[in-house]
């Protein structure tokens, strides 16, 4: 059976969100715009994929990101000194930016469990009962003694918080343990030396 476009999009495009957002943070100085940029990039990629799915999805995703940023810079009427994204800097080698997120099931689970630990308590209980014990929202409501609508709200909130945590993309800092390669064209300068 042929894979649906939606499933393809999740697997080939959304899987790169962590790298993509980090790339945007480093290339785009107006950090508050990054998440809207991300949305526009996804829209463009999805639109293009309706017609034909790119053969190299990751490169296509980053190329789209680059084009979109370039367009935005050109469209600005006034180029202020406050917004000097320079176009050369956008041409970084994508593969330098971050290692792929390919971890074992064990590690994925650990990461997920850690993310769940960090959502507010009520929200966490709801997710646990709903997902681990497979209780329905109605049963969760009875168990916790809260309204069913409230459970629905916890699910909604939990989903958003987990998305942010799992894609590790709220906040502009690189995640702990990653190396930021400051000089993109000369990646070898970015590594620390031990002495």
């Amino acid at each position: 059976m042929e894979e649906t476009l939606d499933d393809w999009f999740k697997r080939e495009i959304l899987a790169h969100e962590e790298s993509l957002v980090r790339y945007l943070f480093r290339s785009w100085s107006r950090h508050q715009e990054v998440y809207d940029l991300r949305q526009d990039i996804y829209v463009r990629v999805y639109e293009a994929a309706i017609h034909s799915r790119p053969l190299a999805p990751k490169s296509f995703l980053f190329a789209t990101a680059r084009h979109l940023m370039t367009d935005r810079i050109r469209r600005r009427r006034i180029v202020s000194i406050d917004a000097v994204e320079d176009l050369d800097a956008l041409n970084v080698m994508i593969d330098c930016i971050s290692p792929e997120r390919r971890t074992s099931a064990h590690q994925e689970l650990r990461r997920l469990a850690e993310a769940i630990d960090h959502v507010p308590p009520k929200c966490r209980e709801t997710i646990w009962l709903r997902r681990v014990d497979d209780l329905s929202q109605k049963e969760v409501a009875e168990k916790l003694g809260i309204a069913q609508k409230t459970v629905e709200k916890h699910v909604m909130k939990g989903m958003k918080l987990l998305a942010a945590a799992l894609y590790r993309n709220e906040g502009g800092l690189p995640p702990r343990g990653e190396v930021l390669i400051a000089k993109d064209s000369e990646a070898e300068h970015g590594k620390p030396q031990t002495g």
């Binding site: 949305q39 997902r131 909130k157 989903m159 690189p174």
Partner: protein
């Protein structure tokens, strides 16, 4: 177009409602219509749906637990699924077959190096996980068995000009090194000793009241328990900026305690004149407390503390993302900053342009873009050779 927050909120509301089980064909039709309204809706929906599907995996953590009870955060580490990854308490202390914490630090170095080479995509990740797992198991061992003695040899980390590196420490703290910087790390059971030998670093300190986190700069010490702060060394003084929590700055009175050979370290003299007119507060004592949002300049003639609006502090730390942010700074000082990050040096030949005020955000290593802007925006002429650029009016 709606912004990403609005779209995400709606997508989450749809998913949560579908998850409620109260879901009719009419609801489905409404959802389908919403999804078809715009591709932005669809991609936001897919994104959250993927995450929600992913949470199914946590089922594995429920094994061996009474259904309907929610364990405390972190308790899942004891789940059978994770049991095999744990180190027994005894092994973490002495066993020769167990990697020592010193190995951890070395492995971090390796992973840092490996991560910067494009071909090493998979390996560093695996190593890092091993490290995190090991750090967790050590913590666990401490929790169960009490005190674990380990005293790895000190390690050195450094960055070249233009480099930035994140150095995770085995206690859960993290050091971000700026351009041309050098630290020495020595984690002992009673103290976490760091020496900032050169440059600038941002410290995120894991809370551990029993093991103070001490950063030495020459004969001064900056002491933290759990906090975030940065230190930048100058020629004769250094700057401390605290973004979270509280730190104490003091002069090292006892040279034996510091572990280096410097003798005759004196306490800070009363330096009422050192503050100058622009400083709101001056501590003439040999010790000062800095709270979140303050920046202090520390030298042999005293400590000058300024309270800063949070925005300024953030500007100050934008190097961690590879940017330099300036607000109304002279061209001379901006050029000096660029020279810290690049082997290509910029010089101002004409004193008349040195006082031009600059505001803006630039990539630290992209001096070329900066020079281009000076040329476009201020008609400053630039003459470049391979390794220098001279600015004239």
């Amino acid at each position: 177009m709606e912004n990403h927050k609005q779209v995400e909120d709606k997508a989450a509301a749809w998913l949560a409602r579908r998850d409620s089980g109260i879901w009719s064909e009419v609801d489905q039709a409404h959802l389908t219509r919403w999804l078809e309204e715009s591709i932005a809706h669809r991609v936001a929906f897919l994104r959250l749906e993927a995450v929600w599907d992913e949470t199914r995996r946590v089922k594995a953590l429920g094994a061996g637990r009474a259904p309907g009870t929610v364990p405390a955060p972190g308790e899942w580490r004891h789940a059978p699924f994770f049991e095999s990854g744990r180190q027994p308490y005894g092994a973490a202390v002495a066993g020769a077959s167990t990697p020592s914490p010193a190995d951890d630090v070395r492995a971090i170095e390796q992973s840092l190096q490996a991560a910067s080479s494009p071909s090493a995509e998979f390996k560093p990740r695996a190593r890092r996980w091993r490290l995190i797992a090991m750090a967790a198991s050590l913590l666990l061992a401490v929790g169960i068995g009490g005190y674990v003695a380990f005293s790895p040899a000190p390690d050195h980390f450094s960055t070249p000009i233009g480099g930035i590196a994140s150095v995770p420490l085995q206690d859960g703290s993290n050091i971000t090194l700026n351009t041309a910087s050098k630290v020495r790390v020595d984690l002992s059971p009673n103290e976490r000793r760091i020496e900032l030998q050169q440059g600038e670093a941002f410290f995120e300190v894991a809370k551990d009241p029993k093991r103070p986190f001490i950063v030495r700069i020459g004969n001064k010490r900056v002491i933290a328990v759990g906090t975030k702060f940065s230190i930048r060394r100058g020629e004769h003084n250094f700057r401390v900026a605290v973004t979270e929590g509280k730190v104490r700055v003091e002069t090292v009175a006892d040279s034996a305690a510091s572990g280096d050979t410097r003798n005759g370290v004196r306490a800070l003299p009363q330096a009422s004149d050192a503050a100058g007119a622009e400083s709101p507060r001056n501590s003439g004592l040999g010790e000062a407390f800095l709270t979140s949002g303050s920046i202090a300049s520390v030298g042999d003639d005293g400590i000058v503390i300024e309270e800063q609006p949070r925005g300024e502090l953030e500007d100050d730390l934008s190097w961690r993302q590879g940017y330099l942010t300036f607000h109304d700074k002279t061209l001379a000082s901006v050029v000096a900053e660029f020279n810290r990050y690049n082997t290509h040096k910029i010089a101002i030949q004409d004193p008349r342009i040195a006082a031009i005020r600059i505001s803006g955000t630039f990539r630290a290593v992209n001096y070329k873009a900066f020079i281009r802007v000076l040329n476009d925006g201020f008609s400053i002429q630039a003459k470049s050779t391979e390794d220098t650029t001279i600015l004239t009016e």
